[in-house]
């Protein structure tokens, strides 16, 4: 029997095409709240809120998320923490998130401009709001066997230290601090985000690390960076234009900026914006 494979091949290709088109098409997000605009009873908010936030905000935002859930039991807040620049890239690439809280105004600008360039609806009218500020501190392991006492010790040959990559706000801030203090020594590693730096210090893989003041906990010791060489970074927050849950996003952003929210942030070491 003579068989030709052409019809089978054609069917296969059609199937591939159909699947690809289906994947490319926008899918509606599940669980969008059906509240009409103008009414804002708390219990009407529901669904899963996705917040992209800088790594340094983790502890504070976890608490804020829990508080928000208590006030709005229908909402579950999910956080994705990381280096702000990486998060900004994800947003520009179309990651389905509701809120973005960055560790610097420049990474927030990257996200906003990226969305504008991509022609996202509503991107032109975006105005991020500053909600907190942070400054740097020198973290050393609890044992501090290297006897690091200040930024000057980083120049010593026998001292190793870690900072974030310059593309990440924490890294950019570290560079400014080191320059202001006249430290020319280079770090041994440039980590992805501030959490990674902290882990290296905590585990005594390096003698010191430059992290945010808010990152200090019982696992490391903090050495103050003098105010004249220290830098302050401002944290902006933004409800994203293509958020799957725009009302909940706005509510969360408002909550962060409220007195209660700012109090939580203060309790974690953040200063006023």
């Amino acid at each position: 029997m003579i068989t030709s494979h052409r019809p089978a091949l054609g069917a296969a290709l059609t199937a591939v095409l159909a699947l690809t088109l289906a994947a490319c098409g926008q899918s509606t997000a599940p669980g969008s709240p059906g509240t009409s605009p103008g009414t804002a009873p708390d219990d009407a908010l529901s669904g899963e809120l996705v917040v992209l936030a800088a790594a340094s905000l983790q502890d504070a935002f976890d608490e804020l998320g829990a508080a928000f859930h208590e006030a709005h039991p229908g909402v579950t807040v999910t956080f994705s923490y990381g280096g702000s620049s990486g998060l900004a890239e994800q947003i520009v690439a179309g990651a389905p998130a509701d809120v973005f809280a960055a560790a610097s105004t420049s990474t927030m600008e990257t996200a906003v401009h990226g969305l504008q360039d991509a022609g996202v609806a509503g991107a032109d009218a975006l105005s991020p709001t500053l909600f907190a500020s942070n400054s740097m501190v020198l973290a050393v392991p609890l044992a501090n066997e290297a006897g690091v006492q200040g930024l000057a010790d980083l120049e010593r040959d026998d001292v190793t230290f870690a900072v974030c990559e310059e593309a990440v706000p924490c890294g950019a801030a570290a560079v400014r601090v080191l320059q202001a203090a006249g430290v020319t020594a280079a770090p041994v590693t440039l980590e992805k985000d501030v959490t990674a730096v902290l882990i290296k210090v905590r585990d005594d893989e390096v003698d010191a690390g430059i992290v945010y003041v808010t990152d200090l906990d019982e696992s490391v010791t903090g050495i103050e960076v003098p105010a004249d060489v220290n830098t302050t970074t401002s944290y902006p927050i933004l409800a994203l234009p293509e958020a799957p849950h725009p009302e909940t996003a706005a509510a969360f952003t408002d909550f962060v900026l409220s007195a209660e929210g700012l109090a939580v942030l203060a309790s974690h070491g953040f200063a006023a914006p």
Partner: protein, 268 residues
């Protein structure tokens, strides 16, 4: 003269759909990269200091890691294939563990042993004042950890399949076990050894998770090409795409070269 397609040969239609889907899944990302790559900036991207440094670092560390894997892995494979000792099965499982372990976990494990407070690392630091972390040596070690199992598995398989008849002939001629291995067994499994080494090299070249965890990330010293790609994702996404393409092309070339070997083995 037309060619008649005989009915009982060829691929059944039912297998074609998954096959085409699989091909699409594997090929489309490569195509996507190629289409999005900034070809105009190719020269500029590939010649920046960072890229040149990380390319050089990637090349020499992966080659050293391959060499180490061969030197250590062949005797290990021999032990596993021909040895008779208690715990052999456990050792076999342990050796293949890095194949299924997430590389970052491998990096964490390496820190636990060779980090400054590690099992062995602490003595290195206390007695000699040195740590291996954050050095090119750490890069090589991370690569060896994830890539050597490829070589061991390859060679062990070849040794198991190797003909012991020739070993007997060599012994009857007065050759010691070492001589037999050197002049008879190894030459006979050379193709499998070569294929294993190439695979090991490709894996070492692409290693990321263990490297970034154990060796850290510093341009020129520990930032290999995959780490540069990751860093570029934030600062220069176009460069990230170009470099990814470079790595993909290299791996593709490796697979094409080895395809003949693998298919040859299957056909035998």
């Amino acid at each position: 003269m037309s060619r008649r397609r005989v009915g009982h040969r060829g691929v059944p239609a039912a297998a074609l759909v998954p096959a085409v889907l699989a091909i699409a899944f594997l090929v489309l990302p490569l195509l996507g990269l190629a289409l999005r790559s900034p070809w105009a900036r190719l020269g500029e991207i590939l010649t920046t200091t960072t890229v040149r440094q990380s390319l050089a670092l990637s090349l020499w560390t992966s080659l050293v890691a391959t060499a180490v894997s061969v030197l250590v892995g062949v005797p290990l494979a021999w032990l596993l294939a021909r040895g008779r000792f208690p715990g052999r099965r456990v050792l076999q499982a342990a050796v293949t563990l890095p194949l299924v372990l997430p590389p970052v976990v491998g990096g964490v494990a390496l820190l636990g042993v060779l980090g400054r407070r590690g099992l062995v690392g602490r003595y290195l630091y206390d007695w000699f004042g040195t740590t291996i972390t954050f050095t090119p040596t750490a890069v090589v070690l991370a690569q060896v950890f994830v890539a050597m199992p490829f070589l061991v598995v390859s060679v062990e398989g070849a040794l198991r399949g190797a003909d012991e008849r020739f070993d007997e002939a060599a012994a009857s001629l007065g050759a010691s076990r070492w001589t037999t291995m050197r002049r008879v067994t190894l030459p006979l499994i050379a193709p499998s050894l070569a294929a294993g080494a190439v695979l090991t090299w490709a894996r070492a070249l692409g290693e990321f998770g263990a490297t970034i965890t154990f060796a850290g990330n510093f341009p020129g010293r520990t930032q290999t090409l995959p780490l540069t790609v990751y860093a570029a994702l934030e600062s220069d996404p176009d460069a990230a795409i170009t470099l990814s393409l470079v790595l993909l092309v290299v791996c593709l070339a490796v697979l094409v070269v080895l395809r003949g070997h693998w298919l040859g083995q299957v056909a035998r």
